[in-house]
């Protein structure tokens, strides 16, 4: 806590997080992060051994941020259906960024999938956390095969994001979000029918 460097370290991670999203991991240079923070390039190696170490820190940050957001949703919302709807609504809340740069997690995962096996595995961590949370909510809703449902939800959100970003089509994003919410509500209702 008292360490001076912890502040600089966090500023590097925060800037890298933004730049990895806007430009991609490979296309973000130490110079870019230096320009954004005012911290000299050479100084980075005091906090991180390699660029990949910065990536690790960014992935951990994103995972922690998501887990925080999801816990907030759990605190504020008792109904699992409404919780999942709030997750989906992130597409609307962040629509400007999504149209411009896609999904921070999905686009990074897509980029890292083309790298070394080491890199490929790292990108799963954030998705895993969200998937697990969504699965728990589906399960609480009484949905069978909640893991499958969680994957379907994530796939839906990713697909909408890829196409909306490719065509810069906010109307498609909004329409798909409505249909996604309908699908979630049907999931919640159909479990009643099936369990009857």
């Amino acid at each position: 806590m008292g360490k001076k460097g912890e502040d600089n370290r966090q500023r590097i991670i925060d800037a890298a997080d933004q730049l990895f999203f806007k430009r991609g991991f490979n296309q973000t240079s130490f110079q870019d992060i230096s320009d954004a923070t005012g911290i000299p390039r050479g100084n980075f190696y005091y906090y991180f051994k390699t660029k990949e170490d910065i990536l690790d820190a960014v992935l951990q940050l994103r995972r922690d941020m998501f887990i925080d957001s999801l816990k907030q949703i759990e605190v504020n919302t008792g109904n699992p259906l409404e919780r999942l709807i709030k997750l989906a609504d992130m597409l609307d809340v962040n629509s400007d960024d999504i149209l411009a740069s896609g999904c921070p997690i999905g686009s990074l995962s897509t980029e890292l999938a083309k790298g070394t096996k080491d890199l490929q595995e790292k990108s799963q961590v954030v998705f895993q956390a969200i998937k697990q949370w969504a699965s728990v909510q589906f399960s609480a809703m009484g949905v069978q095969r909640s893991d499958d449902a969680a994957m379907d939800l994530l796939a839906w959100m990713q697909g909408v994001t890829v196409m909306a970003c490719a065509f810069k089509d906010v109307a498609f994003l909004q329409r798909s979000l409505q249909e996604l919410k309908q699908w979630l509500k049907q999931k919640a209702h159909s479990k009643v029918v099936e369990s009857a």
Copy 2:
């Protein structure tokens, strides 16, 4: 046709096409393409002024290849529902590549979205060709708002691809493909009900 260089030019484009898919556009160097073809780096500039010109040629190749494939489907299949199912089945036919590197069009679009505005617009062209073809098929099926249906289909395929690639999950890919086909069949049937 008699030009000697046309052969080399095509070999460069074909190698770039593969490499852009496996490693990404930015992460593919002239050296990589040279290694794959045996053609010296410096020679590339006889056929292309810049790396972006190679990208243009690759995008045109992919568009042409898709248009060819879709025309083949039209020739071999009279029923628009079965045509769309054959389009979806590309997820199965190319499942190994998809698990390893994602969708050639989607992943490139995601990468280029983080580049200059010039690059962003180019990636739309291939998607546009497939979307238009799918829209025609939905329309022939009697589906209302066929453009929306085409976007939904592409988004579904992209979402499945992103998640299947991220988790290297072939079972999810297969399951989602079955559900996608069911959705297509429901679309085909529901239009009868609505028009009755």
